[in-house]
Symmetry: C2
């Protein structure tokens, strides 16, 4: 438990190892690490050439620093820039990138470096997974969401017309370099959205971490050591779950806390700027706790603590906080049913017995969820 | 070593297990096994629904039997049919299949069944590998090449405008059902082409197997027990190499015996019907042995044995056997250089010290290969 530090104090670094046997890799977390990314890559992949995949926004902010560091380490590199935003996670952009990587005559030992948020990471990771049946892959995540969530765990992929993330591969990177200073250029709403995933790790099984966030949230937002700690703790939590369940057969489902409700809300708002992913997760986690309290599983005071913490972080916590048209219950239930297999009128949800006491609840009656959502929409 | 049997004698069955830990799977080999495919799938993947991917030619010959067997085992199934031929291993056909599998609302526990040759297997395997980041996959190979080579080992993928098999994934099936009777509808030239890969396993490290093939080749072509034995021995050989080197870091390269020369010849003939893959491999293996003999590595008599066996099987053994225009040395050398990294004027090749004594030779001078090819073109 660190005390808040001013953003300009030299921050410590942390390394989290994702223990996946011969596919194990390090996540380096620290202030300014982008300047050392080239050297870290060269040390792990001697002789590799690189293609950097990034988006237009990030290219304007952090590409020069990364390229300088690659060049400094003697890594020949080319850059492929896609449009910023979810629409780049498409078949056509994927195919285009694959073509460019092949034109650059990269081999299996060469590396695809993803510089950007979750969109760039998922897309570039799928390219790395599939060109020549698998090249090397390095993530340099530049959003908080990517640093604590999408860059860890090896899920890569693109969207299909039938839905998000429906095409992809489990493919682990050789290295993740999370420069916490790169988050300083992130719009505050994006930072807050990623923060919902940080809070999630506390709510799943680490009540101490949640307590620390309650006290030191402002320091995490400010940057420096507290931010490094929060990100490292989050990565450790995710790495632990991933190592136990790489391909999502069991406990990995706990990481979906808040995500069933959240996805339904994202779907109902058309995956638009009305609701960022982490914002949907924030509302979804509040709902998971409120639903748990309503079912007598969780103390109502815990549900209130969750809500007031997320609210203080600038996140929405109720459906009414979403700007624009009111959503209909039937639409939400349809989206939930689409997301989950409804088996004989029951659903599987991540619920909680309290802060840090989340669990996978099977056999939740769809009717209980509908009734709950009717009340939620009145709030 | 079995004696040749008439084709109508009830053939034994054989099972080869590919030992890949938690990804281990069985290859079932036998006459008429397609009729039991449904039951074998249902036993391994209880409750799974299926999408069968096949091509137009195979659909007309073997689809009804497979569907009957799936239905008999209570496996709900849909069929997706692509055009026969290499052109179906494309981005657009891949994307189309992915869309159809998603429309059919298949889940990760459901199965993609490939019914056909290597084209269908590679394509359907890549779909299975990537839809929802990995569904179940079963191969029902119907060409000799697919039964002894492409269905074993987990290489899946498609072609890119930049070259063959440049996009894909290593993805192991849950089961391979090789019905040796299904090969009876195969055009003889296709059967012979696949037979080159059977011979390859003898030449790599199994001189006894090669000797048996010399004696019993006609029985293998006729069907029945000898065919089952030849295919099972081939699958065992490939399974052994794959288990030792799943992602092609080392010994798996031995499987490329004859393939560097062969690919160059395929490239030079535009991957057309002028030269089937196995035909290119047949010439390539003869060349690998002739080159080895020329370099004093291998007894010339062994090179002659290889040539006369392949010739007796109806396969081409020299560049002059390829119908159409004569090929140029420079073009072949360029294609070889493209295929291989040329490091300081040297190349890596699979050569032989004799029948069943293949090895990976590094540092082969590109000049020696050119001079050899000049002579080869005179033959
Ligand atoms: N693979 C996984 O396990 C996993 C987990 C969660 C989410 N995801 C995926 O991640 C994606 C969302 O990720 P995201 O929230 O990072 O979105 P994103 O990549 O679209 O980034 C959000 C926005 O921030 C901009 N940006 C990125 N870094 C910046 C910086 N340092 N300064 C200023 N602007 C910056 C981007 O250009 C973009 O406009 C979704 O596609 C989601 O499906 C994947
Ligand atoms: N994945 C691997 O490890 C691997 C290994 C070797 C080759 N391959 C790939 O395999 C492909 C070649 O495989 P192939 O030779 O089986 O080609 P193929 O799949 O095109 O089949 C050859 C032809 O035979 C027809 N056919 C298939 N089964 C038949 C049957 N029982 N009766 C009558 N006709 C039948 C097909 O319709 C096709 O026209 C290439 O794309 C190659 O890259 C992959
Ligand atoms: Zn999330
Ligand atoms: Zn081959």
């Amino acid at each position: 438990m660190t005390a808040p530090l001013a953003a300009n104090v030299a921050a410590a670094e942390d390394t989290v190892t994702v223990a996946l046997g011969e596919r194990a890799y390090d996540i380096l977390i620290g202030d300014g690490l982008i300047h050392g990314a080239g050297a870290e890559i060269a040390a792990r992949l001697p002789g590799a050439r690189a293609v950097v995949v990034t988006d237009e926004t990030v290219a304007g902010l952090h590409l020069a620093a990364l390229r300088e560091s690659l060049a400094g380490a003697g890594i020949e590199n080319e850059v492929l820039t896609v449009a910023a935003g979810e629409a780049s996670k498409s078949f056509s952009v994927y195919q285009d990138l694959v073509g460019h990587v092949l034109e650059a005559r990269l081999e299996r030992g060469d590396v695809v470096v993803a510089l950007g948020g979750g969109v760039v990471g998922d897309l570039a990771g799928f390219v790395a997974a599939t060109v020549r049946r698998g090249m090397k892959f390095v993530q340099v995540p530049t959003t908080l969401l990517a640093q604590v969530d999408s860059s860890v765990g090896g899920k890569t992929g693109i969207n299909a017309p039938q839905g998000k993330n429906l095409v992809g591969a489990f493919y682990q990177p050789a290295l993740v370099v999370a420069d916490t200073a790169s988050l300083s250029t992130l719009p505050p709403r994006q930072f807050a959205s990623g923060y919902a995933e940080v809070v999630k790790y506390g709510l799943i099984d680490d009540p101490k971490f949640f307590g620390w966030l309650e006290r030191d949230r402002e320091a995490v937002f400010a940057g420096g050591q507290a931010r490094v700690s929060a990100i490292a703790t989050s990565c450790k939590a995710k790495a632990r779950v991933v190592a136990a369940d790489e391909r999502e057969g069991g406990v990995r489902a706990l990481l979906n806390l808040g995500h069933t409700f959240g996805h339904a809300l994202e779907g109902a708002t058309g995956f638009s700027d009305r609701l960022f992913h982490g914002e949907g997760v924030a509302i979804g986690m509040c709902q998971a706790f409120r639903f748990s309290a309503r079912m007598g599983l969780c103390p109502p005071a815990d549900a209130e603590r969750v809500e007031s913490h997320l609210k203080a972080a600038g996140l929405p916590t109720r459906i009414a906080d979403i700007p624009g048209d009111v959503l209909a219950v039937e639409r939400l239930m349809n989206l939930i049913a689409q997301d989950k297999k409804v088996t004989r009128g029951t659903l599987t949800f991540v619920l909680a017995r309290g802060i840090g006491k989340s669990f996978i609840a099977r056999d939740i009656a769809a009717d209980d969820i509908s009734a709950f959502l009717v009340d939620e929409l009145k709030k």
